[in-house]
Symmetry: C2
Amino acid sequence: MKKRTEYCGLITEAYIGQEITIKGWINRRRDLGGLIFIHLRDREGIMQVVFNQEKNAELFALAESMRHEYIIEVTGKVVLREEAQINSNIDTGTIELEVTEAAILAKAKTPPFTIDDDQPVADELRMKYRYMDLRKVRMMKNLKLRHQTTKAIRNYLDNEAFLDVETPYLTKSTPEGARDYVVPSRVYPGTFYALPQSPQLFKQLLMGAGVDRYYQIVRCFRDEDLRGDRQPEFTQVDLETSFMSAEEIQTLTEGMMKKVVKETLGQDIQVPFPRMSYDEAMGRFGSDKPDTRFGLELIDLQEFAQNTSFKVFQQALENGGQVKGLNLKAKADNFSRKDMDGLTDYIKQYGAKGLAWVKVTEEGLNGPVAKFFAEDSETLVAAMSAEPGDLLMFVADKKEVVAQSLGELRLKFGREFKMIDESKLDFLWVVDWPLLEYDEDEKRYVALHHPFTRPKEEDVQLMEEHPEQVRAQAYDIVLNGYEIGGGSLRINTREMQEKMFEALGFTPEEAEQQFGFLLGAFDHGFPPHGGLALGLDRLVMILAGETNIREVIAFPKNGKAFDPMTNAPSEVSDRQLKELSLRLTVED
Amino acid sequence: MKKRTEYCGLITEAYIGQEITIKGWINRRRDLGGLIFIHLRDREGIMQVVFNQEKNAELFALAESMRHEYIIEVTGKVVLREEAQINSNIDTGTIELEVTEAAILAKAKTPPFTIDDDQPVADELRMKYRYMDLRKVRMMKNLKLRHQTTKAIRNYLDNEAFLDVETPYLTKSTPEGARDYVVPSRVYPGTFYALPQSPQLFKQLLMGAGVDRYYQIVRCFRDEDLRGDRQPEFTQVDLETSFMSAEEIQTLTEGMMKKVVKETLGQDIQVPFPRMSYDEAMGRFGSDKPDTRFGLELIDLQEFAQNTSFKVFQQALENGGQVKGLNLKAKADNFSRKDMDGLTDYIKQYGAKGLAWVKVTEEGLNGPVAKFFAEDSETLVAAMSAEPGDLLMFVADKKEVVAQSLGELRLKFGREFKMIDESKLDFLWVVDWPLLEYDEDEKRYVALHHPFTRPKEEDVQLMEEHPEQVRAQAYDIVLNGYEIGGGSLRINTREMQEKMFEALGFTPEEAEQQFGFLLGAFDHGFPPHGGLALGLDRLVMILAGETNIREVIAFPKNGKAFDPMTNAPSEVSDRQLKELSLRLTVED
């Protein structure tokens, strides 16, 4: 084997006249009678290599035996292509290699699919042959982007005096949060480690240890039912600091994002990012992670609804609910009555009982509920800033239902009518989150972020009487409508932490049993601290312009947490089960 | 809370006259009537702050209430200390802070142990209060050293065009290697993921994907009975390359180690590292990871033993064994007959049947077996390069027993007689490993490295008839007698891999079931490739001058894979077990 002198994709006209050796996969092969042209591919790109029968019949015969995805090594001289041969689709399109030596390093069967970004391939097939799927330019680009992203993050945090500290993966199972993946212990029969959902408590304890600034790019695990952008394991950029304010942590994060975007996409983004309160985000966009790349905001119709004769609106208010609307400008003609029924069905999945709508025409309002606005149509038109051609939609319901159903409708229209400027990166802080929310299933309050989040000083007095009114010192970072991270200042005293556990319905004994080590640590000089965790997969996905995090993970699981390549999870031997003191309650 | 202007430990005389704000833990507090001196500690070091009753009685009263490990924030002016107050034990020993503002940020109970490197504390107590143990200067230094090490490695590999690619933690359990930690699947009852013992197959598949140069600093898991330098989870610097030779991979690794040592300890190390064959290492040092910082090599006595009248020696040879000796120069007088009995017991744990020994005196040989050398004592003395005062020891046994017992004895003497230059960093490559070894328990051949290691081309023909003679294209990197890493070129064809599985006693069906995805990948254009994995914990341990990897892991487990701080592993709820279709075979 000769030594490679350069990657295929990095050869430029500066190499003309030089002898080089390159290695790679055969991406394409054309036999033009006496000349064989091969597109040789490596991770950096493609280089054309030419075998000339006249010049070397033996090499030519070898080239005739080469097939797609064979790995070859070729040596030769870089030359300028003839004018007619220039290919502007590849970076090396003006040059080619005249082969003087060649060897086949590995043969290949006919591939299960063509290594070509433009050929759609079924997801399961892509995952089964992931090692071939990753050969595609798009996937290799995504892997590199991920590398560049983590590198930029590490360099930034190194520079800001953060210490990269590794925390355990075999940890203690705790009842709060999502479902844990557990790992049976062989040494202590009947006990289990848990894989971390996040290194939350360890990073807080590192603050107690005086590490002052910690970060880690770390795998986290959640045994949840999966969605498009969820995986059983995911990667978090986890950081924690002592003695910093929420604003300082946000500023630091902004600096990091600025560097990441600059070093991956070459773009300059504006800092500071806008801050929006949770209430404002829910009110204007019906979402705690608003996509601010387009308008179509929710319009509050409380005042109108108080005075209208439309009973449905009034009742919603009387029941403590809300009435809000969307004005889809100039799109009235795009929607048939049947289309509107479809939209009604669409928002019913978010709990809405119905969607009221009218079209604005030169002659006035039009549609099934138009008659209810006979007397106050002008007030409505004014409140909605409506003009002829607009489609107006209304939801009157509980606050949460109004927000979610109109928020989702807004996003649907935004996508369908291409209102979203896809070239934009719209960062946003959502701040002033509620500390707790009432869980109807569990019949108790649960932490909206996690039980270690510090409440706002001025709201602490509400903890017992009106827990739902307490705001947290918490902040989420949103990018293009995705929550890419969240953080908070944390509780650092036993007294406050016990108050929090009490609000969550823990008995003192339960609190002590589960979190005694944290409460104990608070007794020994624990600094004020706070931090943030970013979802790396989602961040890279957005930077890569992808819509599923699977595209930026080298070996993801499918939608059922299964790996079609290795067939994991799989059965284990009886000996293994016995060693772990376990028995299955299912038949093999 | 005011903004901190600098870390305590980083304040220098350049700050004199400036007003600064620092925050930290009270490490020491002296009340000298009207003056209170506090040593304030943060992660970078210690700064003395002074409260003066005359200047500010209110602040002084506050300072009187301060105790060890309280966290305080102080503002004041940096001044030069009086001559008599200069403390050369701390970096900031010539300066102090005259406090003008102060606040207590967190109180602390009396600590379970003093935060002082020089006070020995029981291991279990240190681990239970790890967040306090890490406050020690030594531990904080170790965390920083680990950070610097990984940073140097990442920068080096980034620069060498390696891509950092994350591989899954929820993988497939395979029968080869150590015992897996497994993770029950909820979605597929009765099946399990395995936590990776190393990302070996994934990194090979990345080579199949064309990543060309991969690295990852990654957690690995082994459910083994633990030893001093083992942990259930450990961190590996994992790398893999395509198209490179073993020598090129070694050179690359040497460059990496050179950078690491330079950037952590500031030392220049010599490259290339010496290469020694496995046979030579075993022969000269009785170890496959020789500590080459000192001599005391094993002396081969085959020639002498063939001709001596000492039956034990001759028999050993006749049985296919070896006779080797150690010459402990000028130490004969240090050992009584009882001491020698102790040494005999010591090597019996390595399978030796006995230890023959003689002392060399001016009058000839002395000791229980001296009489057997009556006729050839001079030949023996010459073969051992012995002089009066030397203690000669011999083991005649099977090759492996001779190597291990004398090898361990050599290390014991090396430590006890301080023959080892602790300031040295002795790197070494051990190459030409056997591919397979016969496992007496399993009655079959097992891979000495792993089943994916490529045999030497010239030895492949021996695979079926003399598998034990086949050498591998494998290399270990040894530092100061520790194996800090190992690597190899890998098999990249189905044909060779199937041959290897056959040698390991797999049926074709078993091979296909367990490793079918790898064999399949070889069919689709798989490049020649090879790599290396370094044990990060052990490397940092050696650089830190520690002797247990626990000292360089933030939150280690104890010797029984238990965490005394969080009490992991612990019981999980019946609901969790039911969801996982598991039942315990032990009583609660």
